[in-house]
């Protein structure tokens, strides 16, 4: 059994009465894994991170790290005593410190404070600011050890040579790595990343994403990453937690989220999807695209009117005329295949990925067949 590093139990948080930003949320994170919290903007992802690192107090529920409760209503271990690192969305690098000073910040005196006579007070070792140091154990490093640790971090994140630069003198991707190195510096038990790639342009994003994944793996750090980008989540995560309006809709490995979405929201939010109305009779479902057997009859128990998930690749072009005749409404070329928006006779619109050689134009009619690997349907939403 994998051992659990972080456990969130029935967590609730609201800022205004009656509006739950986090609503009865539970999640466990096992050691060494990368969990991606995926959800549309405004679903409470950032609030969840802030609850985990102790910048917010929960209204209900608790956060448990390594078997120890670190947050519950009325009791919050201060952020500096949690050994949880964080990479902020805009990196939050200290503009007045060099790259090395930024990364080594948690270890104590910087260039400026080193000159001051009360330096001992400012370093993490000194009274009266020693609360954090007492918990951290290794914060009060000797100068040699500190240098070694910094060199290790620069090596790990590929920042060697940039130590003396200031944050505004390095590129966005480098800033990202400094933020990561800083978060990893004091060997946190857990690293939180809040939309870490959203400030990078599309090309850079993919490269940095892979680099971050490698760094996290090599340092064997457990991490929670928050994003609204499903491609990012699919690529980087061991497990994805899909979040909507303060609740978790589904938690599982990427392929499970993609192929067995547990709710209509997950099905609609992850992957390209359209829905067509269907009617369950016995062990199969009737739709405009034909009658299809249900693999798992149980899921349809008690349902009659349903919505059936249609992924673009579930549709096949059918040239013998046995399929359903549809009209092309819109065309988007995507290289080897083309994404068509098709209008069914009833007026329902679906998206279909058909071979690129078909060269259909809006207005043309085309016959398609529905060939899903498995029928996925949800009770129809009441109008």
């Amino acid at each position: 059994m994998m051992d659990t590093i972080l456990e969130i139990r029935t967590l609730c948080k609201r800022f205004e009465p009656g509006q739950w930003v986090i609503d009865n949320l539970s999640l466990t994170v096992s050691r060494g894994s990368l969990v991606c919290v995926l959800g549309p903007s405004g679903c409470g992802k950032t609030t969840l991170l802030r609850l985990i690192c102790g910048f917010e107090t929960p209204d209900r529920g608790e956060v448990v790290k390594e078997g120890e409760v670190i947050s519950r209503p009325g009791y919050v271990v201060p952020p500096e005593c949690r050994r949880i690192g964080m990479v902020f969305q805009d990196y939050a690098l200290f503009p007045h410190l060099t790259v090395a000073e930024n990364v080594g910040f948690g270890f104590g005196a910087s260039k400026l404070t080193g000159l001051l006579p009360w330096r001992r007070l400012l370093s993490n070792r000194g009274w009266p600011f020693s609360r954090a140091a007492a918990r951290h154990g290794e914060s009060g490093l000797k100068p040699d050890d500190l240098r070694e640790r910094l060199a290790q971090l620069f090596e790990l994140t590929g920042l060697a040579g940039l130590e003396r630069r200031y944050p505004h003198e390095i590129s966005g991707g480098q800033q990202q790595r400094v933020a990561l190195a800083r978060a990893l510096a004091h060997r946190p038990h857990l690293v939180l990343l809040d939309e870490p790639f959203s400030n990078l342009d599309a090309n850079l994003r993919r490269r940095i994403r892979d680099e971050v994944r490698i760094v996290l793996d090599r340092s064997r750090t457990t991490s929670i990453l928050v994003t609204h980008d499903q491609e990012e989540a699919m690529n980087i995560a061991d497990r994805i937690a899909v979040m909507n309006e303060g609740r978790l809709e589904q938690v599982g490995p990427p392929e499970e989220i993609l192929h067995r979405p547990a709710s209509r929201f997950v099905a609609g939010f992850v992957g390209q999807s359209s829905f067509i109305p269907g009617h369950i009779s016995g062990e199969s479902v009737d739709t405009e695209l034909g009658r299809h057997p249900l693999q798992k009859p149980a899921i349809g128990a008690g349902w009659t009117a349903v919505e059936v998930l249609v992924r673009p690749n579930y549709l096949q072009h059918c040239d013998n005329g046995h399929g359903t005749i549809t009209h092309v409404a819109d065309v988007a070329y995507q290289g080897t295949q083309t994404l068509y928006t098709l209008v069914l006779p009833s007026g329902t619109r679906i998206q279909a990925a058909l071979p690129g050689y078909l060269t259909l134009s809006p207005g043309d009619s085309v016959s398609v067949r529905f060939r899903p690997p498995e029928i996925i349907c949800y009770p129809a939403q009441k109008k």
């Binding site: 802030r50 690192c53 102790g54 910048f55 917010e56 107090t57 009325g74 009791y75 919050v76 201060p78 952020p79 500096e80 005593c81 050994r83 949880i84 690192g85 964080m86 902020f88 805009d90 939050a92 690098l93 200290f94 503009p95 007045h96 910040f105 948690g106 910087s110 400026l112 404070t113 400012l122 993490n124 600011f129 609360r131 954090a132 951290h136 914060s139 800083r182 978060a183 510096a185 004091h186």
Partner: protein, 532 residues
């Protein structure tokens, strides 16, 4: 931007310090209000009967006309400096701000003396007329008071409008141009209305200054509220009447302050646009340069050059007749000591108030901030009076010591430092502190190592503002100074009111020599930042 921390992490020590500071700042107001409201119908009746209407007309009239003049001066100068490119522009842009370093009472002193019989004005008039000509004295004359106060305060409008024009988005102007608007229509219909927040902020400072000015109006013997309060308190020892008059003036200033805050909150995001480009100033030919130079020289001479020339002339005369005034350095030291203590202490008092108010949204932290701004609407004589009451009733041991003077400076000028720090803290994103804490550093360490270093420009600005204002302070010092502790400002006042002028001019010169360079340093830093 606000930092949202769980209640268990609120910095308790800081909250206590903030509460103590804001309470102290409120004390004079409370005392003065207490005395004023308790004055009774007889006192109020007497004041309403013969004092208040006249004072109201004088004070409001003076404020209004001065605001009008400073509007014309400040806006025209700001437009010339930002919209035109001419030789010597950079130097002019800070030369025009230098009058802020001269206390208005020194300007008033210089001008009244110039118009005395045998002064520069009669001499110039005689020379122009070709025969012995007479020039009226300017004591108690409304236009003269407006003249002096406008020249002393126009830099407020100039500096704010200048900064705002430098940030002006050229796209507005170009859009109007495409619609076919001519130069004047663009200026009056687009550019000027968009500078309204800056203009209003500048005029607010001017009017508030006129309300609170004591030295200049007193030297020119023009009765306004501050002068009446001082006379009631010192001349008749009538605390109740003085407090009642003070209450009326506070009400006026407070109304103004509220208006300004409201206007500011409504117009905060006036000029934000997606694409932003600076307006390119128009190059001037020789004729244009000469015209602009003449106008700027005129304003500069009237506000700074003439005054300083006069002071130098007087000092040289005085020293030639009576030798070097030996006690001058003592007074200078007193000024520096009191002002330096106030400025330095203010830094420590401001940090908790400014930090809490910018980082937490709770109403009580906002209340600390508001309470600490009390000094803003309390003119000097009122602060002097309030601190006098406090010292007698609450802090008896410090009564009659320099500490009382420093306390008055603190209460009166803390808002200036507070404003500087408040805006500095606002510019630091709270997630920097959060980042520090996730690095395993405590609240205080994050404050010392991240927030304060980043806010150091704002903190320095605050120090200079409090220091310079304290150096120039006159009425509260007059009321509170211990025996034998004369500052430069007090000395200037005494010498001129006893019509025994020999030390006034050198003292004024020394005072200016301290304040103007400090202001210049501050402005050139600000000017560089806003230009770059």
């Amino acid at each position: 931007m606000r930092l949202r921390l769980p209640s268990s992490h609120r910095p308790l020590g800081m909250a206590v310090a903030g509460a103590a500071v804001s309470l102290t700042m409120m004390l004079p107001l409370v005392y003065v209000a207490g005395y004023g409201l308790g004055a009774g119908g007889k006192v109020w009746g007497r004041l309403w009967g013969n004092w208040i209407p006249q004072l109201m007309v004088n004070t409001l009239g003076l404020a209004l006309v001065t605001a009008g003049v400073t509007f014309l001066l400040g806006v025209s100068l700001a437009v010339l400096i930002t919209r035109f490119d001419f030789f010597g522009k950079r130097v002019w842009s800070w030369l025009l701000a230098t009058p802020l370093g001269i206390p208005p009472y020194i300007m008033a002193y210089a001008y009244t003396e110039m118009f005395l019989p045998g002064g520069w004005a009669p001499q110039a008039a005689s020379w122009l007329a070709g025969h012995e000509a007479d020039v009226p004295m300017i004591y108690g004359r409304f236009p003269a008071v407006v003249w002096v106060l406008s020249l002393a305060t126009y830099p407020y409008v100039y500096l704010l409008v200048r900064a705002s024009l430098l940030n002006y988005n050229a796209a507005f102007d170009e859009a109007a141009r495409i619609q076919g608007a001519g130069l004047w229509r663009r200026f009056l219909g687009i550019t000027l209305p968009l500078q309204r927040p800056a203009i209003m902020a500048g005029l607010f400072l001017v009017v508030l200054y006129v309300f609170s000015d004591f030295g200049a109006v007193s030297m020119m013997r023009f009765p306004t509220f501050t002068r009446a309060i001082y006379l009631e308190l010192v001349g008749r020892s009538d605390r109740a009447s003085a407090s009642a008059l003070a209450l009326v003036l506070i009400a006026l200033s407070w109304l103004l302050f509220m208006q300004e805050r409201r206007a500011r909150s409504r117009s905060r995001f006036y000029q934000t646009g997606g694409t932003y480009r600076k307006l390119r100033p128009r190059r001037c030919g020789a004729a244009g340069t000469v015209a602009i130079w003449s106008y700027l020289t005129l304003v500069f001479t009237a506000s700074f050059g003439l005054v300083v020339a006069f002071l130098v002339h007087r000092s040289v005369d005085g020293i030639r007749l009576e030798g070097w005034p030996a006690d001058l350095w003592g007074y200078a030291f007193n000024s520096l000591f009191a002002a330096g203590s106030a400025a330095t202490v203010s830094l420590f008092l401001i940090v908790p108030v400014a930090y809490l108010a910018t980082r937490y949204r709770e109403w009580w932290y906002q209340a600390y901030l508001w309470a600490s701004y009390a000094g803003y609407v309390l003119p000097g004589p009122i602060i002097g009076m309030g601190v006098l009451f406090i010292a007698i009733h609450l802090f008896a041991p410090i009564y009659g010591t320099v500490a009382v003077v420093v306390l008055a400076y603190l209460i009166r000028f803390l808002p200036q430092g507070l404003q500087a720090q408040e805006s500095a803290f606002h510019q630091i994103k709270p997630n920097l502190e959060e980042a520090a804490r996730t690095c395993g550093v405590s609240f205080h360490t994050a404050l010392l190592r991240v927030v304060l270093p980043l806010a150091k420009t704002g903190i320095f600005t605050g120090w200079v503002l409090v220091f310079v204002s304290s150096m120039k302070e006159l009425p509260a010092t007059l009321l509170l100074r211990p025996l034998g502790f004369d500052t430069l400002a007090v000395r200037i006042w005494m010498e001129t009111s006893e019509e025994f002028y020999s030390l006034a001019a050198p003292a004024a010169l020394v005072l200016i020599a301290v304040t103007v360079p400090l202001f210049a340093a501050l402005f050139s830093r600000n000017l560089r930042e806003s230009a770059g």
